[in-house]
Amino acid sequence: MCPAASLRKDGILKEVARGLISLRLTAEGELRYVTTMKEVIQLLKEGADGKIVLVNEGGTTFLAPVLAKLAGVVCITGALGSHLAIVTREFEIPALMGTKIESPEELDRKYVMIKPEEGSEGALFVKERLDNCT
């Protein structure tokens, strides 16, 4: 069995990162890695409802057009005092900050879950098919 993994109906959730969570809320959905305002607008056109967005920095406040529609945000750097954490709280969605994810592109379009853990901490899980896990 994968480490820190739990069985899901059609796959398993594997923990891929930990960080600090801006609100004690669980969120799950398709992850999109965005780095520019244009990509945010593109996501808005495609439909951002229920998606989870992964960004590089915690000062990334260009997410405003989609924040009301997102299920959550994951950020590679930053913490609870970063502007992104403050703004996402205004929209009542969790942001998992300071995750140190090294290959964000690999998570793009994967199904993920943000889950609160002990205290202010949280974890990011990615859903994998059972045959991918050894």
Binding site: L25, E57, T77, L80, G81, I86, V87, R89, S120
Partner: protein
């Protein structure tokens, strides 16, 4: 009406002229908290620029009417250009330069900071939407930075934030704060309530070495501490990587890799945390609501308050609470 007003002269009802950041800092200065010396350039100067310029007014109206974010991005570029080309009236420039001379010991230059009327409200933070410029020296660069702060009120990200919050652009009035630059040893953010759990009996602190710009902009992972208020105690601490350190030098801001021995060490020990928390609780009491406070520690160990605004998000989340 004064174009320029020193912090200690700004009153609580000057919100429309000097914006949330300046009014809150002025109140703290009057109450005796340690706030960097400085003054605010009234939002009336910004409003005058908007009113004088018909093209700018027309573009702002177009943004207000549009629901197409791509169109808004294009309009933002035109708005930026118009403000860039604007020549600040001579009497305003003269008033700013005259007052700069009254601020002593600005060895590391000035922080040129936004103080919008829609900023730091109880319901809207506008956090990170407008820009601040640090270690700015010389009259020409200071005037240039004032214009850049004005531009940032209508940057692409600010415009879409304002649209999303249904705030008409005509309501945006940008005052600009000029304050002495503090050569901080340690900087941080303190929430006088735990914003993660909405527990008002706890305090949450982020801190890093040097200036706090790398922290609020989220470029680094700072140290995180959760404290109880009564009795004061540390209940959680998470070491951050603090990858970079931002320090002011005589003529500019320098960002360097943080040495390994400082990355692996907490920025604050318990007593320093308690001292900061005590000040936070006093500010919370003075401002009559839980606060989101930016602070720094000077080389002489004194705590300086850089910003205080109400926490906008303490109501209980309405769904999926764990």
């Amino acid at each position: 009406m004064h174009i320029v007003q020193f912090l200690e002269d700004i009153q609580s009802d000057d919100f429309e002229n000097h914006g949330g950041k300046a009014v809150n800092l002025a109140k703290l200065a009057r109450l005796g908290f340690n706030v960097p010396k400085g003054f605010s350039i009234s939002s009336a100067v910004f409003t005058q620029m908007v009113k004088k310029n018909q093209d700018l007014t027309s573009y702002l109206k177009k943004v207000d009417k549009s629901d197409d974010f791509e169109e808004i991005l294009g309009l933002s570029e035109s708005i930026q250009q118009i403000i860039d080309n604007y020549r600040i009236p001579d009497d305003v420039v003269s008033e700013i330069t005259k007052n700069l001379k009254h601020i002593e010991q600005a060895k590391f230059g000035f922080a040129v900071r936004s103080s919008a009327t829609i900023e730091d409200r109880r319901d809207v933070s506008f956090a990170g939407q407008a820009e601040s410029y640090l270690c700015v020296q010389g009259e020409e660069d200071i005037i240039g930075s004032v214009k850049k702060v004005w531009q940032s009120a209508f940057s692409d990200r600010a415009l879409v934030y304002l649209k999303t919050k249904s705030i008409p652009l005509v309501e945006v009035k940008m005052a600009v704060l000029l304050q002495e630059m503090i050569p901080a040893e340690i900087s941080g953010v303190m929430f006088t309530a735990n914003v993660v759990t909405s527990n008002t009996g706890e305090i949450l602190i982020n801190s890093t070495w040097g200036l706090g710009n790398t922290l609020v902009s989220g470029e680094i992972i700072p140290d995180t501490f959760v404290l109880t208020k009564r009795p004061l105690g540390v209940i959680q601490q998470v070491l951050g990587d603090k990858e970079f350190t931002s320090k002011p030098e005589i003529y500019n801001l320098v960002i360097t890799d943080t040495p390994e021995e400082k990355r692996s060490k907490f920025t604050l020990e318990d007593q320093a945390l308690f001292d900061i928390a005590e000040v936070g609780m006093k500010i919370e009491s003075s401002m009559e609501s839980p606060q989101d406070i930016e602070w720094c520690i000077k080389p002489d160990g004194k705590l300086v308050i850089l910003q205080s605004r109400p926490i906008t998000t303490l109501s209980e989340p309405s769904y999926r609470e764990e």
